[in-house]
């Protein structure tokens, strides 16, 4: 059997039973990466030697009967926003181009302890700011379903990696939709856990009160497998939840009878692509057929989500990115004495940051600095925090009447590369359906629910109350037992990935 044809769950079972070696698995995926990555650019860094060494040691331990971790032999790709001590960690920015952290992120440690095989770091929008992976300093990522299109962002590399079977699972991060939206545009499953469910220690921070790390895979079941390993309390993260982590994989096999799914009519306003709307309505029908009931609900402040997000996030980001100043690590501009600056130190700051950051990052830093500055704080940042409370209240109210909220994850299927890069505001609106989840701190999952006539994936999103991951995974898993959208592969990938003669 081909490792790339196996689900992550089946793959780890095969390794555990000895039907496949960790080295075989790892090699199979490393070869696919070698094959595909040139055209897709999902990876910024591939650690062939390290991955094979890790796989080898797992095989040695397995052969000598030593116990193995729950993810033994599973190749994993990690978004380059998470620190890895043995590999450069760049957040897809020139300012960290050669940065090597002296420590692993908490999630990375957990993966290693579980004997996963980390094969490399995936491409992303710079500092997680973007919805198309076109803001990377190291080139955009191409959607495996159509190379002329974007995979979504900011975890575009992780999404494309899984969609092209370069690894069975990948780790992404989600601040305003950055796992769910690219999962939707790439036809895979991506989960943003409840805020605090997964430790942020070692995640290069974008917006601290919104960021969460989560799994991306071909199925909800595979996401459950990974989430079991990476979730849990970390005393090194003050915002980490102390609640026990359920065995998500054992909670999947439950029918949906009696589960109430909310549907927000405002989601279906003009601007939603008709094919996407159709795919989403069909998804609701599938859930109904599975025993759930669908109810229209109101989310009165939904339309303020993007504006709120584009104040809260840049404000926190402007502060989180102040440390990238060329002083203690990262890029420092070469000294060029100039009277334009008050001192050589200020010159170092300004030019290092000007050279190191891309335009979107600069925009958000400027916006955030402005919105926090004296005289504007109340009108912008403080106001946004108040609206945030209203948005969270919408969710609390809605969850009195329903157990899940369903809907689109993106207004359109994958758009063309370059289509939105000229207009920052247009790009911000791709987050329309996903930002409120982060503002409220609840969990959300997206998975494929159909395809457009031109063969592009259509994504469906479910959101749950805080700590509602078991229900999210169970509902998605049930959906995936009744449909096979998630099993589809990009056609012609082989041909597309073959090096041109």
């Amino acid at each position: 059997m081909q490792p790339a044809d196996l689900s992550a769950i089946d793959l780890v079972a095969a390794v555990r039973q000895g039907d496949l070696s960790a080295v075989q698995c790892t090699e199979a995926f490393l070869n696919r990466i070698q094959y595909c990555n040139g055209a897709i650019n999902a990876f910024l860094n591939v650690d062939r030697a390290g991955a094979l060494a890790c796989a080898e040691s797992i095989d040695v331990r397995r052969r000598s009967g030593q116990p193995l971790g729950p993810l033994a032999g599973l190749p994993v790709a990690v978004k380059d926003a998470l620190c890895t001590a043995d590999l450069p960690t760049t957040a897809a920015s020139k300012i960290l181009e050669n940065f090597r952290p002296p420590y692993d992120a908490f999630v990375v440690s957990r993966l290693r302890q579980a004997d996963a095989v980390i094969v490399g770091k995936t491409n992303m929008d710079e500092f997680a700011m973007g919805g198309s992976n076109e803001n990377s300093a190291f080139g955009p990522v191409h959607n495996p379903w159509d190379f002329s299109r974007a995979p979504g962002g900011s975890s575009g590399g992780s999404a494309a990696c899984v969609a092209a079977d370069m690894t069975p699972v990948a780790i992404g991060s989600d601040t305003g939709g950055s796992i769910r939206q690219p999962a939707g545009l790439c036809g895979i499953t991506g989960l943003k856990p409840t805020y605090g469910r997964v430790s942020r220690r070692g995640l290069i921070a974008f917006a601290s009160s919104l960021d969460q790390i989560g799994p991306m895979a071909r199925s909800a079941a595979d996401c459950a497998l990974v989430l079991e390993t990476i979730a849990g309390h970390d005393p090194g993260d003050s915002t980490s939840l102390t609640d026990a982590v359920p065995r998500y994989t054992s909670l999947l096999e439950q029918p949906l009878a009696g589960v109430r799914v909310g549907r927000v009519p405002e989601h279906f306003a003009a601007g939603l692509d008709p094919e996407v709307a159709k795919g989403v309505e069909e998804a609701f029908a599938v859930l109904k057929a599975a025993g759930a009931t669908v109810h229209d609900i109101a989310m009165p402040h939904a339309k303020y989500g993007v504006a709120t997000y584009y104040l809260v996030a840049p404000c926190e980001a402007s502060s989180n990115l102040a440390r990238y100043d060329g002083a203690h690590y990262g890029h420092r501009a070469s000294a060029k004495p100039s009277s334009a600056f008050e001192s050589p130190l200020i010159e170092m700051y300004c030019r290092s940051r000007a050279e190191g950051f891309g335009p979107e990052v600069k925009r958000r830093i400027m916006l955030g600095t402005y919105a926090l500055s004296s005289g504007y704080y109340d009108a912008y940042y403080a106001k946004a925090l108040k609206v945030r409370r209203l948005i969270r209240q919408d969710y609390l109210d809605a969850f009195e009447h329903v157990d899940l909220i369903g809907g689109p994850v993106s207004a359109t299927p994958a758009f063309k590369l370059g289509e939105k890069t000229g207009d920052p505001l247009a790009m911000y609106l791709v987050d329309l359906y996903t930002v409120s989840t982060n503002l409220a701190g609840v969990g959300g999952i997206s998975f494929p629910c159909g395809f457009t006539k031109s063969g592009l994936p259509i994504g469906f999103q479910l959101q749950a109350p805080a700590l509602g991951e078991p229900l999210l995974l169970r509902a998605s898993d049930r959906f995936q037992r009744l449909t096979d959208w998630h099993l589809r592969r990009p056609p012609n990938l082989t041909a597309l990935c073959t090096p041109k003669g």
Binding site: L82, C83, T89, A91, L96, F99, P101, P102, Y103, A105, R200, R201, G202, L203, I204, A205, A207, S208, S209, P235, G236, D237, S238, T239, C315, E316, S318, S319, L321, A322, R323, D325, A327, H328, Y329, E342, P344, L345, Y349, T369, L372, S373, S374, Y377, Y381
Partner: protein, 498 residues
Amino acid sequence: MNASTSETQVPFTTIIGLEVHVQLQTLTKLFCGCSTAFGAPPNTQVCPVCLGLPGSLPVMNQRAFRLALKAALALDCNIASFTKWDRKNYFYPDLPKGYQISQFDLPFSMDGTLEVIDPKGTIGPCRVGIVRVHLEEDAGKSMHDETAGSGDTRIDLNRAGTPLCEIVTQPDLRSPQEARLWLNELKLLLVYLGVSDCNMQEGSLRVDANVNLHIPQPDGRIAKTPIVEIKNMNSFRSVERALVYETTRQWGVWQETHAEMGKTPKQTRGWDDPAGVTRAQRHKEESSDYRYFPEPDLVPVTVSSAQQAAVRSEMGEPPVRVRKGLETRWKISAYDADVLVNQGRQLVDYFEELATLIGDGKIASNWLQQDVLRTLNERGGTIEDFPVRPAALAELIARVNAGDFDTSRAREIFSEMLASGRSAADAVLSMGIAVVGDDELVALCRDILAANPKIVADVKGGKEQAAAGLIGHAKKKNPNINPGKVRTICIDLIRAMQ
């Protein structure tokens, strides 16, 4: 309103407020487990959190918060039931994150007081209001390298992340001397509580001062000079000197310019201790818009009244109460109580043990101040290591009281006890001092009287002070005699003679 400062009675009031930063006496930093020990080689006490590496996150040190709470309670502050931290955003190389985690609009305590009383009585009681006490992290150290032509600045981040209590006073101080005395009292209080060692030389206490003058005008209005912030004072003495200088300087500027507060921005001046002057510092650009906002990586903290009570109960007595206690219990003067308390809790404990054993506070206080402290000052060391313990000293004093020897002899014995570690009894033995029994003493006196008829005649004639001449003879006969006793016996004998 008091007239203030210098010898010439000038018609203005000096208004002083202080901003004090104290490093809390924890083992580790405020947000990470790096050591806070002083004097380590550069950049050896750092980790991803205090270096501000990407992905690092802060976690609050419980003991730091508890110590800060103690300080605020001792300063009589109101403790907020809900408190949070904020980011103070600015760029400087000793601040690796590009922001300092501090407290802005909801500090954990506000509105306290600390009074200082000058036991010498030269300055009246001074009640200084505390605006707020809050908890924040310290920055690292930047050292400008003047020598190398490249003009690099060297950064050591060992200090970055150390827990700091910021204490801001109301402008209630009215003279440089008051400021120094108040700082002494604050230091004493915080050292007594175990909150900080308040060592300015090591940087665990730093002070900035704000000072201006209030000048009554002929028309009854009060003119106020612009407030000046003074930085870079390295001792309490420097604070006093800097304030004296600055007061004089401001008065001079006033007389020349009559410039009042509000028309010029707040000035910052650095104190140059060797030169004895303050100098204007470069005006900071963008006058610091710190863009404070709530720290998203930390959660708020609540303090219940039960928790306050628990901290209070483990606080121990502040110096002001210890002083009063010593004065009341042992009937010693305010001055003496102050001297003892200033030496620290351990010396006070020694004193109380000694006073209890001998049943006399004044004598105990005298011995401590004159002998024990003198020795400590000469040789260094601490009262905990002092070789003569209260019980041994008490034994010695008891024998003085019993008349076995006089105080000067006792001092010799004390030195021997110090040097040899012997008890009083053993020291006496080893020095060959034998107490002269009363019968022997009387016999000796008869001998001396017989040998010195002239003195006897003088005493008989009414000059009792002539008896003092007999002491020397007595000592020659037996060095162990008690001079006081000899004198008394001789005079009695002479009176009994016909």
